[in-house]
């Protein structure tokens, strides 16, 4: 068995508005479009994922909240209808996903081995959260790649911020170890928004884009500054000022998904590819990719096949 590798990571935010505006058959409500720039960003991300041909997608979602430990989906197939509790008018989605239980168990065990409280979710009636589903739909609407779903323990909220992010760093390292031992070629998905200040009321027509813009200027400036650092590969500086960003822009990366992903990738100091940026009810949403194959940090599948 070849050594497993993380071949890419995506910052893949999860506003349900993007699913709503795309009108896929799985979603009940119908729209007249909207948020096109973000959906086009995801189109580019989808094309890149197609080229990557991963064996598995791992997604960390801030909307599966678990107070006791880091949980992993542990049922081979999960299906049902996910209704967003905040935007039920936009997101009522029939999901049907396959889980890479073997890798999920390995991730869970590796996390436990380094002292993290971790747990498998084994109940087949479990309803998968809308953050996980939205990110997965937007990146791979075919639903043909097995998934490892990881909960948000929210340690950065409960502990001191630096302690909580340090725990997410450890979870990332555990995830990497499990992937390497599994032989899988994995893509990581951090389901996070950047600036998370949002409007308190919805327009009468949710997809009326004349109403869509950043909720506040300072938050927007923070997003541009942080995206700028990532596009240049200034990863150290990004993580140095991350706590201030979280504090001042109310950034959703506080939930830890982004730190988890970068830790798992080994904090590569490579330029991230910005597929696009857009606001959703005022929040800031970059869709970005770190392609470790292009950067020479992971093996191209063609080389493996040739060997």
């Amino acid at each position: 068995m070849n050594k497993g590798e993380i071949i890419a990571g995506f910052l893949a935010p999860h506003p349900p508005h993007l699913v709503y505006s795309e009108n896929p058959p799985q979603n009940e409500p119908e729209s007249q479009g909207g948020w096109e720039e973000l959906r086009w960003a995801y189109e580019r991300a989808r094309a890149s994922l197609e080229e990557l041909k991963p064996d598995v997608l791992l997604v960390h979602s801030p909307h599966w909240i678990t107070e006791q430990g880091h949980h992993f989906l542990g049922v081979e197939n999960l299906s049902g209808k996910s209704v967003d509790p905040i935007f039920p008018n936009l997101f009522r989605y029939g999901f049907d996903l396959n889980v890479d239980v073997e890798l999920a168990e390995a991730c869970c065990q590796e996390a436990a081995d380094i002292g993290l409280n971790s747990k498998m979710m084994r109940n087949p009636k479990f309803r998968v959260d809308y953050g996980t589903i939205t990110t997965l739909h937007m990146i791979r609407p075919q639903w043909d790649i097995p998934v490892v779903g990881i909960s948000a323990n929210n340690s950065p909220y409960y502990l001191q911020l630096d302690e909580g992010l340090e725990e997410m760093d450890r979870l990332g390292k555990a995830t990497r170890a499990a992937i390497e031992k599994s032989g899988r070629r994995a893509v990581l998905l951090a389901s996070n928004t950047f600036c998370h200040f949002h409007f308190s009321e919805e327009p009468e027509i949710p997809e009326d884009m004349s109403q869509e813009h950043p909720q506040n200027y300072e938050g927007y400036r923070w997003d541009m500054r942080m995206i700028g650092l990532l596009r240049k590969g200034h990863v150290d500086e990004f993580f140095e000022i991350l706590p201030q960003f979280i504090e001042e822009a109310f950034a959703e990366v506080k939930s830890g998904a982004f730190t988890w992903m970068f830790s798992a990738m080994g904090y590569p100091k490579i330029p991230g590819e910005l597929h696009g940026y857009g606001t959703v009810i005022g929040t800031g949403n970059p869709v970005m990719e770190w392609n470790l194959i292009k950067a020479g940090l992971a093996t191209d599948i063609k080389n493996i096949q040739a060997a």
Partner: protein, 268 residues
Amino acid sequence: MTVVSAFMIPGSPLPYVQADNPPWGRLADAMKTAGESLAASKPDAIVVYSTSWFAVLDQLWQTKPHLKGVHVDENWHEYGELPFDIHIDTKLAEVAIQESNDAGIKSKGVNYDQFPIDTGTIVASNFLNPGNKLPLMITSNNLYHDWATTETLGQISAKAADRLGKKIAVVVIGRLSGAFYRHTINISEDKVVSEQDDQWNKKILDLLGQGATDVFLQTCPEYAEKAKVEMGFKHMAFLKGALGEQFQGGKVHAYEPIYGSGAAVIEF
């Protein structure tokens, strides 16, 4: 009198799914006792405010007439499932929505198949309304609402019932001290995480038991901060709003830990 009884209970599923663990079992017994008191007060409907139903954009009110299904808790899935069968007093909810909008708190109903019902509401329904005999009016915890707004929502709920000539029981759902164990514990040895949290909980419960409501209300902000009370103790704000002048303290049926956090069953 519109509000004929009122209760505060914890929203954790553990007393329901693991009642054979002594501390959680005592909470389960207390909630059954509370359910008997509630039934004896003969309300026409039960108004439920749950801190674990999060809303962000508006104040949400459940308006689907019948909710039935099985819920698996996001955190405690290994303990099993939570069945629910709930009827909604849609007329009462519609009036409350109107009253709320009139008061400047933007509100709307939710009437969707498979809309996620929060664990706390299911626990309350199953313990305090066995057999689904009474209809419920369920409203959400808007994360951006403060104590005053939440108290107004309690007032609005009672006012809506009064307009319809209905008697209501009020049930608010939330924890006391909010710190909990992050690691796996021997559940039979569960206790409140810190002595300080325990003392704070006991102090606040003593004030309620003595009927010292003025001191109690003055102490609530400090208590909420020092003991990290779930959602800033807004469940108490809702209850205070609904009871109004009837708020004169409460009888504590049980005070126990739930995985380190403080939990109490209180009858008002």
